[in-house]
Amino acid sequence: MSVLIYLIPIALGLGGLGLLAFIWAARSGQFDDPDGAKYRILMDDDEPM
């Protein structure tokens, strides 16, 4: 069972990374325009329409 000493911190660390990414996303306004975001990935910035 001693492997738990490594596994639990690793699991928590990975989850914590996800949480940090979520907090960053919410703070920087990534969830402000869910409708627009799905179209923006397809927009080609190099070529003005």
Partner: protein, 741 residues
């Protein structure tokens, strides 16, 4: 077939919204400058797809000096920043030339705060969710290893759980702790008091157990409790902000900019809110006033249907007082702005709005009633459990554990989710139908209404005159239309509408309050009032008339009426079928109101009612114990809208009326009113079901907990299942109704 031809050149390239070009006035007053960078927020209507996004952003970015242009497709906000001398109106014109409706958006302070609150709740929810999931992972291994796991391992598991739970609860629970502390200081209790107590007690007991090396710890339950409750809070905050934004957007549609004449005679655009009493204002023909003023120069006629409910235009002269919402039908006029407080009508309305606001805030929601029952009941039960087990002699530690498990298992999760989820689902469905709900508790009030009071002009009717078919020979209509095309008078416009396209007579002179005159092929023709055209006074029959005469010959009469909105008759019938009684309360003249009341089969009606009389009538109905749903659009309705049990305003209503009402519906028809009533009733039923489910759950769970059988495992299962059942019940109607339609 060439597919390219199907793509509309104007507006949304996917054809999801019709092209429009309604650009609203001068937007330059809304530009803000910060460190040499100019910023403007516009509200864009009709943008629905990725094509719109790139079209609008691309076109605006191509303008000189633009540093950033970003369109938010979810709420239609378009933020542009630029440097240099680019005119703000050119940006608005660029967007409207592409086929989208555009108006200035004036972000208010409340919006920024609401946005931050929503974001904080989302983050708190994320943290609680992360903590709950990870602690649950550890707890499951403790439960699964029951009897096999060594005490050291179990203690380590509990310690790690505690290390996650304590900071997470401190961070995510702030909302509840703060609110609970605030009400406790004032000697009251709300839902947050038992929540905070349960969380803090559970954490405290768990820490003590962990140190002692005990078997049970409630870290998972306390964090999960916070997670579920934060979902409810977040949904509630999001609903409020979205409703607020929608209402704000509708208000932005109305002209908020005013042409102010500076001391040196130059005309400059300014925000209506920046106008001070005494400023000189120029009102262009056809413009709607955004401030109140006394006329200094200019004569003509104005349409006051939004202010007084009177459908007929009023002649004005220097010295007349005009109110915001009035439309100038004649030549441009100059006026001096007056302060709103100076006038009795507006002061009266402001007083009524305040009274209505106070009454609204004292409304007790179903959730409030449930909480006032819940809080003392739960606390008494927990306290009695503790005392009971103490008397039974099992020791203070054991008794406290059982009491805490009772507090946790009677978790108000289901109670906290019961109302918000239903409100979010219902308001989302109404939103898609073009109805903007102001608050969640409005649904409850709308559902309990038993009497509907309508305003007439602009609400039941279209608010614009229409030629009565067959009232005059078509040949005569065509001849009179030659004069009418030169005028902005509503009756002239209605005549032109009936006549269609055609020629305009040369040199038409308009005499305010009388009519039009012109010489056509050497014949002097007149169009206007009875005395103007040389006809005697005719009997009042509820219709509007104008007369037409040629060369002083016999006058011919045209009859007009304010046409009913499509679907009014069906609406009246359907509302009656739902057990609601109807009434019309109008500021218009008696014959006109009587006519509409007859056609809709409404027996109770009042004509010529002033704002104060309308409010008085609502008070009378209230004293009779009726729950009134008021539907109105004008400034004269604002007071009664605020006083009514629940109220609705159409999208074209005055912004005062929109903010005084619970929901705003858009579209020309009245079907929305029926959907609102039906959905509100459905939502209320669903909420009552949810509260019953929550009560049922507690009836089963509490005896188990009091008896001391509620281990952390039982608490976790019971808590999450009750929350899920309540949520499923709330989203159920949306699912099966969508499938049915």
């Amino acid at each position: 077939m060439n597919a390219m031809t199907d793509i509309p050149a104007q507006g949304c390239p996917s054809g999801l919204a019709p092209a429009s070009q309604d650009s609203q006035g001068d937007v330059s007053a809304f530009v803000t400058t910060k460190k040499g960078l100019k910023a403007l927020s516009l509200s864009v209507r009709g943008a629905k797809c990725g094509g719109c996004l790139s079209k609008i952003e691309g076109a605006v970015k191509a303008l000189p000096g633009i540093s950033e242009a970003r369109l938010n497709l979810s709420n239609g906000r378009f933020d542009v920043t630029w440097t240099g001398s680019l005119d703000a109106n050119r940006i608005a014109a660029t967007v409207s030339d592409l086929g989208y409706g555009v108006s200035a958006f004036d972000p208010d302070r409340g919006e920024e705060a609401a946005k931050r609150e929503e974001r904080d709740l989302l983050i708190a929810m994320g943290v609680a969710g992360f903590a709950a999931a990870n602690i649950m992972l550890l707890s499951v291994s403790v439960w699964a290893g029951h009897g096999e796991m060594g005490e050291t391992t179990r203690r380590a598991m509990h310690a790690i759980s505690g290390a996650i739970a304590l900071p997470a609860a401190a961070f995510s629970g702030r909302v509840f702790f703060k609110s609970a502390w605030n009400v406790l200081k004032r000697g009251h209790a709300n839902m947050d008091v038992p929540i905070s107590l349960a969380v803090l007690l559970a954490l405290g007991v768990s820490v003590a157990e962990t140190i002692r090396g005990g078997e049970h710890a409630y870290f998972d339950a306390s964090v999960m409790l916070l997670f579920f409750l934060l979902i409810g809070r977040f949904l509630d905050a999001r609903l409020r902000r979205r409703a607020h934004l929608a209402a704000h957007d509708l208000a932005a549609l109305q002209s908020r900019s005013v042409t102010r004449l500076e001391a040196d005679g130059t005309a400059r655009s300014a925000k209506a809110s920046e106008i001070a009493a005494g400023d000189m204002i120029l009102v262009a023909p056809g413009e709607r006033l955004a401030v109140d003023m006394d006329i200094v120069e200019g004569t003509g006629e104005v349409d006051e249907s939004l202010v007084s409910g009177e459908a007929l235009p009023r002649a004005i002269a220097p010295g007349s007082r005009l109110f915001a919402g009035t439309v100038n039908l004649g030549q441009s006029i100059r006026g001096r702005a007056i302060s709103p407080a100076a006038d009795s009508l507006l002061a009266d309305i402001a007083g009524m709005l305040e009274a209505g606001e106070q009454r609204r805030s004292s409304y007790r929601r179903i959730a409030d009633k449930a909480v006032s029952l819940y809080v003392p009941l739960v606390h008494t039960t927990a306290a009695l459990t503790f005392i009971g087990w103490m008397l039974a002699g099992i020791g203070a530690r054991e008794a406290l554990m059982i009491a805490v498990s009772t507090l946790i298992i009677t978790c108000p999760c289901a109670l906290a989710l019961a109302a918000p989820v239903v409100q979010v689902v219902t308001s989302g469905r109404l939103f898609r139908k073009g109805v903007f709900l102001k608050s969640g508790d409005a649904l409850e009030r709308l559902a309990t209404c038993d009497h509907v009071v309508f305003d007439k002009t602009g609400t039941l009717t279209l608010g614009e005159a229409e030629l009565v078919p067959g009232s005059a020979p078509q040949d005569l209509v065509l001849r009179a239309a030659r004069l009418a095309r030169a005028s902005r008078h509503p009756l002239s416009r209605a005549l032109v509408k009936a006549a269609g396209a055609g020629q305009v007579a040369a040199h038409v002179t308009e005499y305010p309050g009388l009519g039009l005159e012109a010489e056509i092929d050497g014949v002097r023709t007149r169009l206007g009032s009875a005395e103007w055209a040389g006809a005697g006074e005719a009997a009042e029959d509820g219709k509007l008339h104008i007369w037409y005469s040629e060369a002083g010959g016999p006058a011919h009469r045209f009859d007009f009426e304010d046409a009913l909105r499509p679907g009014s008759e069906q609406l009246a019938e359907q509302l009656k079928a739902r057990g609601l009684s109807l009434e019309i309360l109008s500021g218009d003249r008696e014959p006109a109101v009587a006519d509409v009341a007859n056609r809709l089969g409404v027996s109770h009606w009042t004509a010529g009612a002033s704002p104060a009389e309308k409010a008085k009538r609502l008070e009378t109905l209230r004293d009779e114990g009726r729950k009134v749903l008021m539907v109105g659009d004008g400034l004269n309705d604002a007071g009664s809208l605020a006083l009514a049990h629940a109220s609705l305003a159409p999208g074209g209503a005055m912004d005062v009326s929109q903010s005084a009402s619970d929901a705003v519906y858009t579209g020309a028809g009245l079907d929305a009113i029926l959907s609102i009533v039906d959905m509100a009733r459905g939502a209320r039923l669903r909420m009552l079901q949810n509260f019953s489910l929550a009560a049922l759950y507690n009836m089963i769970a509490v005896p188990v907990a009091v008896a001391g059988f509620a281990t952390p495992l039982v608490a976790a299962i019971a808590m999450s299942s009750s929350s899920i059942i309540v949520t499923l019940n709330a989203i159920r109607p949306a699912v099966w109704k969508r499938r049915a339609s």
